[in-house]
């Protein structure tokens, strides 16, 4: 039955590929034809799954790069096809008709909520969990729901590779009888003693005492311990130590970051850990991770007449990433205008929850260098209120309900450099207008 399914689906996949279309369609068809198709595949010795609120795409991409550099044949699902059918499509793509996967390494990025479906059929040898925090709550309910689903899917044959600095991720090791490997980041000059954001896990999951945090890196990440000794940050097997703002070392190995954002350290250290566990040579790991940085840009910039703009990632409903972009803006010393907005709250669903705006640290825009803030889209007034409650002077704030007029508003009102934190739906509109007017992006 597996062979027949593959005989039907593989030509469809080739055809779709020629048309440059649909990465998850072959998987959908195969799953409809044969629910047991997953069991038909003989997986390669190194099968890695990666999940987490942030970083999974980067880690999966970097792993693919690293193993390719090492001379392995690698199969990998592309960003956006990280659900069940997407994972299945990669398998089909790399399978012989007898079900043998003809790559040496399989890297699957998985959406957090789909781990439970994929693991029903497929157990990886290695499972990286980068972090878990409040994210898309109108879809997920809350982070414990996500944690429990993943935790219930983990079996003891899986080797877990965990971020030691995230207490929620640390919880995965508590009842896991299989192997655990931890990676993390040592205290840095930028570590803070306190954190004003709403945190996700601050009490011991075992005895319910309030956890002590020695320091925070960002979000819920840091050095935590239960006062009664029931739960703490495990000393990482692979611990990064910052050398300067853009490089760090693990043991004696020096790794360069593509830019100074700390999340890079976690992503790269996770890859380093995997490389070591699977027996790659140190030099090869370091060289391949260092060659990555050439291709990654921190930010997209644009220029139009006298406007110097920067486009930053704005993930609605994911405070940890949103806060990082806000922190980046704050770090830029010059006078600036910030453009915020979204047309829809989520690209996935049409539920209009605005609670997440209050889990984001808009207070960091309450800074003298921020001269104007332009709020764009149908929720512009809600953004104004959020900024007002961050004690930002409402005289600085401009609303632009019609996204089509956003560029005109920027031209007319901007002071200094322009930083745009727009959700992808609104950013698309801006980019289109910029291209039309001949801007360099």
């Amino acid at each position: 039955m597996g062979r027949i399914t593959l005989l039907i689906v593989k030509p469809i996949q080739s055809l779709l590929k020629m048309m440059g279309r649909g990465t998850s369609i072959p998987g959908s068809i195969a799953f409809k034809l044969n629910k047991n198709i997953f069991k038909y595949f003989k997986l390669p010795k190194i099968t890695i799954c990666v999940t987490g609120t942030t970083g999974k795409t980067s880690i999966a991409g970097s792993l693919t790069h690293m193993y390719k550099q090492a001379g392995y044949k690698v199969g990998h699902n592309l960003k956006g096809s990280n659900l069940l059918q997407g994972a299945l499509s990669v398998l089909i793509d790399n399978a012989k008709l007898n079900g043998q996967i003809k790559v040496d390494v399989l890297v699957l990025e998985l959406d957090e909520r789909y781990v439970k479906y994929v693991f029903k059929y497929l157990h990886p040898n290695y499972f990286i969990i980068s972090n878990l925090s409040r994210d898309q709550l109108a879809r997920n309910g809350h982070f414990d729901v996500v944690f429990n689903e993943i935790n219930n899917s983990i079996t003891d044959d899986i080797h877990l590779v965990l971020n030691a600095d995230d207490p929620i991720v640390g919880k995965f090791s508590l009842n896991h009888k299989g192997k655990n490997t931890f990676y993390g980041l040592a205290k840095t000059k930028l570590s803070t003693k306190s954190n004003t954001n709403s945190l996700d896990l601050t009490y011991c999951p075992i005895c319910h005492s309030k956890l002590n945090f020695n320091y925070f890196h960002y979000g819920n990440l840091g050095d935590y311990s239960c006062p009664k000794g029931d739960f703490k940050r495990v000393k990482p097997d692979y611990e990064a130590k910052m050398i300067d703002e853009v490089s760090f070392k693990i043991g004696k190995d020096v790794i360069k970051m593509p830019n100074d954002a700390l999340y890079n350290v976690y992503n790269l250290t996770a890859c380093y850990a995997l490389g070591k566990i699977t027996g790659l040579d140190n030099k090869l790991i370091v060289d391949s991770l260092n060659s990555l940085s050439l291709n990654i840009k921190r930010v997209n910039t644009f220029k139009l007449d006298n406007i110097e703009g920067t486009l930053l990632l704005s993930k609605n409903e994911t405070p940890v990433s949103y806060n990082q972009s806000l922190a980046y803006i704050k770090k830029q010393p010059e006078a600036k205008t910030v453009v915020l907005g979204f047309t829809r709250i989520s690209g996935r669903y049409n539920l209009k929850d605005l609670s997440w705006l209050y889990d984001i640290n808009f207070e960091s825009l309450n800074d003298d260098s921020v001269k104007k803030i332009i709020c764009v889209g149908p929720f512009a007034n809600d953004l104004v209120v959020r900024l007002k409650l961050a004690s930002i002077d409402t005289k600085k704030i401009i609303t632009c309900f019609d996204s089509e007029k956003m560029l005109d508003t920027i031209k007319e009102k901007k002071v200094g450099k322009v930083y745009c934190m727009l959700y992808f739906d609104t950013e698309k509109i801006l980019k289109k207008m910029l291209v039309k007017e001949g801007a360099q992006i």
Binding site: L351, S355, V384
Partner: protein
């Protein structure tokens, strides 16, 4: 005048940006020249409820609810007295679960709660998530907001809302919320006071007048909040409710 607000279990029950409510209260009380003290309270603190003019408590994970209830039961009598004495308490999200008789979790395990009210709560193994519009008897304007919960409530005798849209106390229920004396409870999550400025105004006026019946009010600073409220209704709920603008 000073208004003292006790923000209960701020570090355990803060799932959906509820600190927005504290920010909104502070901003408006200060706008009308009233000093505000916010006391951040949690497990292990000695809480003297008599000290406070308003208690606020918000939503949390089911695990955190259990941590909280263990601590909160110590204050069962204090809280009962507090509410019976017409003092103000605002509970949003699943924190209202804690004031009923008990919670039955998805494994059918019962946790005893404060027993201030007669209702019982069952936590389902599916999440109920939806936008909400409710009407109340206390203000003309409808409430807007969002629900995100495992809880369903039964045997509530003190409803606050009629459900126009949303889940309510349980799927397809007509009613929601708890209104008893100055206890205001609702499954609405997050920045309820920010998104419902007319309720915020109502709540603050009532609160201040209980302290000083002759208080001369300055006007609130709610222009932007009201605009956001009305824009939201006009954009999305025009066919369901009249914004009464």
């Amino acid at each position: 005048m000073i208004i003292k607000i006790g923000y209960l279990y701020y570090d355990l029950l803060n799932l959906y940006g509820e600190n927005g409510n504290i920010k909104a209260l502070k901003k408006q009380l200060e706008a009308i020249n009233i000093k505000v003290e916010i006391h951040f309270l949690t497990v292990g603190d000695k809480i003297d409820f008599n000290k406070f003019d308003l208690i606020y408590i918000a939503s949390g994970t089911e695990e955190n609810q259990k941590i909280v209830i263990k601590d909160l039961l110590k204050y069962k009598e204090d809280l009962k007295q507090y509410v019976d004495n017409n003092k103000f308490l605002l509970a949003t999200g699943n924190s209202i679960d804690l004031f009923g008789k008990y919670i039955t979790d998805s494994n059918n395990k019962k946790t005893k709660c404060l027993n201030l009210f007669t209702y019982r709560v069952k936590q389902e193994d599916f999440r109920m998530i939806d936008e909400a519009i409710f009407e109340s008897n206390i203000i003309d304007k409808p409430f807007i907001g969002f629900q995100n919960q495992f809880s369903v409530m039964q045997d509530n005798k003190h409803h606050m809302f009629k459900v126009i849209k949303g889940i309510g106390s349980y799927p397809n229920s007509q009613k929601e919320g708890v209104l008893y004396k100055n206890f205001y409870g609702t499954y609405l999550i997050g920045p309820v006071l920010v998104r419902n400025p007319y309720f915020l105004e109502y709540l603050i006026k009532k609160l201040v007048l209980t302290k000083d019946p002759n208080y001369k009010f300055k006007s609130f600073d709610l222009k932007e909040e009201k605009k956001a409220y009305e824009t939201f209704i006009n954009n999305f709920y025009k066919d369901i409710v009249k914004p009464n603008v």
